[in-house]
Symmetry: C2
Subunit: 96 residues, 2 copies
């Protein structure tokens, strides 16, 4: 299934900047960055649970915001991209 991860991390201090790097790093290893703080990850249920647990362990819930959107398996018609940065198939390879 396609899981969309969006986040806002409070980067007013160095700890926040570190959390931001860690959140991005965790997402990069499991999906595709499509915008600055928006990742698309094709995951099964256990991978999804693992990513959620990982990200929830990184953020400061009092200061950061994390959102997950579950778009299911037939997601190709549920996503539209306009503008800069090439669109791509979440399960395909992005040639830059």
């Amino acid at each position: 299934m396609l899981v969309l991860v969006t986040y806002d991390v409070n980067t007013e201090d160095s700890a926040g900047k570190k959390r931001l790097r860690q959140v991005a790093k965790a997402c990069i290893s499991r999906g595709q960055r499509v915008q600055n703080s928006v990742f698309e990850c094709v995951l099964d249920a256990s991978q999804c649970a693992e990513l959620e647990h990982k990200l929830e362990s990184i953020i400061d819930p009092a200061r950061d915001s994390l959102r997950f959107y579950y778009l299911g398996n037939r997601y190709h018609t549920k996503v539209k991209h306009v503008g800069a940065k090439p669109s791509y198939d979440a399960e395909g390879v992005l040639f830059l």
Copy 2:
């Protein structure tokens, strides 16, 4: 249906900063900001087409990125929020 709008606007110049304000303004009037550049909008098909057209007329497609995710009508189980900023019912009223 719930339409998620995410965007990255290039704000390196004043024109970009203006586009960013205009995109946010267009989304604010039609939905709920859930993160800095993430909006949730409950729209019918014609409202959705109108918002897409509006946003596409604002952005610079060579420099900005706009993504729409269509989560359908039964979206309550498709969204998970963790951390700061209250969750809310997209069709409800957010009491701050």
